[in-house]
Symmetry: C2
Subunit: 500 residues, 2 copies
Amino acid sequence: MNKSYDELLEKCKKIELIEKCSTLLAWDRDCYMPSNAYKYRGEQIEFLSSMAHRELTSPEFEKALQKAEQDTKVTDAYSTEAVNLKHIRRTFDRSKKIPEDLVKRMAVETTAANRKWITARKEGDFSIFAPNLEIVVNLCREQALIFKKDASCYQALVDIYEPEMSIETLNDVFSYLKKELVTLVDKIKNSGSKPDMAFLKNRFDVTGQAELGVKVVKAMGFDFDSGRLDITTHPFCTRPGPMDTRIATRYSEDDLLSALYGSIHEAGHGLYDQGLPREHFGTPAGDFVSMGTHESQSLMWEKVLGKSRGFIEFLLPLAKKLFPEQLGNTDIDSFYRASNHSEPSFIRVEADEVTYNLHIIARFEIEQMLIDGGLDIKDVPEVWNSKYREYLGINPPDDRQGCLQDVHWSFGLFGYFPSYTLGYLYAAQFYNKMQMDLGDVDLIIKNGNFTPVLDWLRKNIHSKGKRYNSTELIKKVTGSDFSAKPFVEYLNKKFGEIYS
Amino acid sequence: MNKSYDELLEKCKKIELIEKCSTLLAWDRDCYMPSNAYKYRGEQIEFLSSMAHRELTSPEFEKALQKAEQDTKVTDAYSTEAVNLKHIRRTFDRSKKIPEDLVKRMAVETTAANRKWITARKEGDFSIFAPNLEIVVNLCREQALIFKKDASCYQALVDIYEPEMSIETLNDVFSYLKKELVTLVDKIKNSGSKPDMAFLKNRFDVTGQAELGVKVVKAMGFDFDSGRLDITTHPFCTRPGPMDTRIATRYSEDDLLSALYGSIHEAGHGLYDQGLPREHFGTPAGDFVSMGTHESQSLMWEKVLGKSRGFIEFLLPLAKKLFPEQLGNTDIDSFYRASNHSEPSFIRVEADEVTYNLHIIARFEIEQMLIDGGLDIKDVPEVWNSKYREYLGINPPDDRQGCLQDVHWSFGLFGYFPSYTLGYLYAAQFYNKMQMDLGDVDLIIKNGNFTPVLDWLRKNIHSKGKRYNSTELIKKVTGSDFSAKPFVEYLNKKFGEIYS
């Protein structure tokens, strides 16, 4: 390669190194930091973010980018060089437009908002969080206004997480999905069939749950020499370095599945991170495609694979060994039906496959109302609750089980939630193709052999880095265009069988 | 105050903030980081250290310092301004002389050396660590040569940790001490008296030990809202922010006292850090006096207070509650005598009060031989073992229990060990005065009331920051000059009673 291209990549890697310092500081904040340390930690993270932003938007960086663009002859649009130059240009242009001051305020305000969210959630009182949420919403709108083209401010925010995905496509897909899901929810309600859930309502000690989580995540292929599993308030996955992927979950003694599937979800993210091409770390070629694609990996493991009959055949014996008293009399079929029981509920991360995307659609609609529609912050709880009544037929009893349940807004991640549903749709498409390539996946994984599955994901998705955008990747891997139909068919087939 | 002085302090606080990012990264490395992440972490820490060094030695900083010195009228040499300007000048002058390249190499090489030390220690094989130690010794000598005046290179290294303490004083004090200690060790050996130690040789589960550690450290006054206690390979205390002090210890199931007194030692450091004037954080006025003074606080708690009869009266009931089977039949006097049993042993951090300083003196002499005397790295184990034979009459069976036991050399901390003995001598002087001020300390603490003791330390030592140097502080607090005699008298009195 040419020298100016190499120099540009060196600059990118340096910026990444600064950001990864910040990533570690944030991980510590969310898992281990003593409570009184939050103010100084906010200043540290803000300092590092500003520095990374300053480096990226410096005249030297711009010059290096221009020089590399001039000196690099791109013949293949999907070559490493082409991909790197395209995405470095996109990131530079976007960052250049955001004033350093806004980056700083965002870092300080989201740190403060996150603290308040933790308190508000603990006390189940939205009003504690509301003033901070208002500040964060305004900052997000301020940011969106900078990038807004003809479309809405919200479109500009979605574009951060899912590049080249339009708000029209989203609105189309989401209203089609909403209709189909509300119908399916109704059918299940009317089927009158309800599995026995009693054995899940036992007491499962945290030590045993943690041991089970580690065993499952290890079996999936998560590398603990290059990663960790910790405890936190809201499950997450983060990557403070090329060989350092950290997932975190939370435990509840009266719920076996919540922490377990939280860990499986985050490990799905973690496996993607661990499978990205390390030789390109710190450059776009070594980075993930989009948040939707990232969520396709977490939801593939948590839902599509994790709630399949094959996975339950692998899981149940492990769980029985740790909790013989609670699970001794449970057979595969009961466990499968119980863990796939579909019933409207309040908490997104514990939702079943049928209702899950209705949680997302509610958030998606509220976000649009907040960013583009002028919804008053103080009305968020009521709007939230009314949507839950309308789509799911349930009314959240308090804000802890309503609009305070997710960490995202406190971090300013408006436009992120659609990624989950996109990820789910991608996952269904990938799973179809995986079945064509590997045969019956249930038969492969039921003895805990996840290697063929992980290899397939590594080869087709993880190893590609950012080479293709999400719709290109789907086309490349499956041969088909992006569509919500495979997901709806998957759901109807699976839940048709379970609920006759 | 004047504007230029304030601007200088802002610059100092910014440098501190960068260094504190690095501190957190290092804490994570030593407590939680997955093993494969070490290389990148080394690069991150090196990057931050270089940046801090570059900021400190920049022409802008020099100009700001000069301007502040010109604009500030100092009338009282012990005023906050005078103390700040004096120490900022010292730090600047010292850092200015160290090339950035040397700082970088030091960061990279000590990270690598630390990894190798961990492996070498695990395998008990010094040769794994030797090549890295050689590199680190050479780097330390390279650094010392820059500051060396008429004195030895080693003097220049000691001066980093204990400013204004001469190698002559150290040699005098240490040979006096060595003579006195070898005599006392002999007397104890010949006394023929040996306490019953059997009850300490039980199995004490780690959960119970950790619970006991937290209880004791909390009782001492350590603030867990501004701090943590974790598990690591080698106990340490670190401070990633003004309200964030972290201590770490290690547990051994067949030893109740090792982890406990490790925690007490580190909590002694932690209490000093938590008591420093926070309003001056990031400037010398908010910093500690010297490493010797820091060790005076850890050893005050671990040895002088922690092994006193009053402390044992507080500790034993707590320990009995957690380990009723193992300690049910033990009375205060047996526990006091057992935990004060003096007998030559291999591991410094587990040594009793009589033999402890002989461990330090051995290291002090070997360090001088390495830095000034041309001792071959490969000969370190044999020299180490021969000194243990000569001073303590014992021969380390392997390097794990010999020259690989301490982390310090892997981090390049040559010249640090004397701080422990200095700290011990300071602690004895402080304790004398504390007894004069408070009366019988045994009577105060025996019910777990450590407030008067901590208040005394806060008022006389912690709150002073860096206002006085260590010998000035001793004079100020006790009215007497620095001397080793109070310590020797303390030892002879205490162990004369125990061993008649």
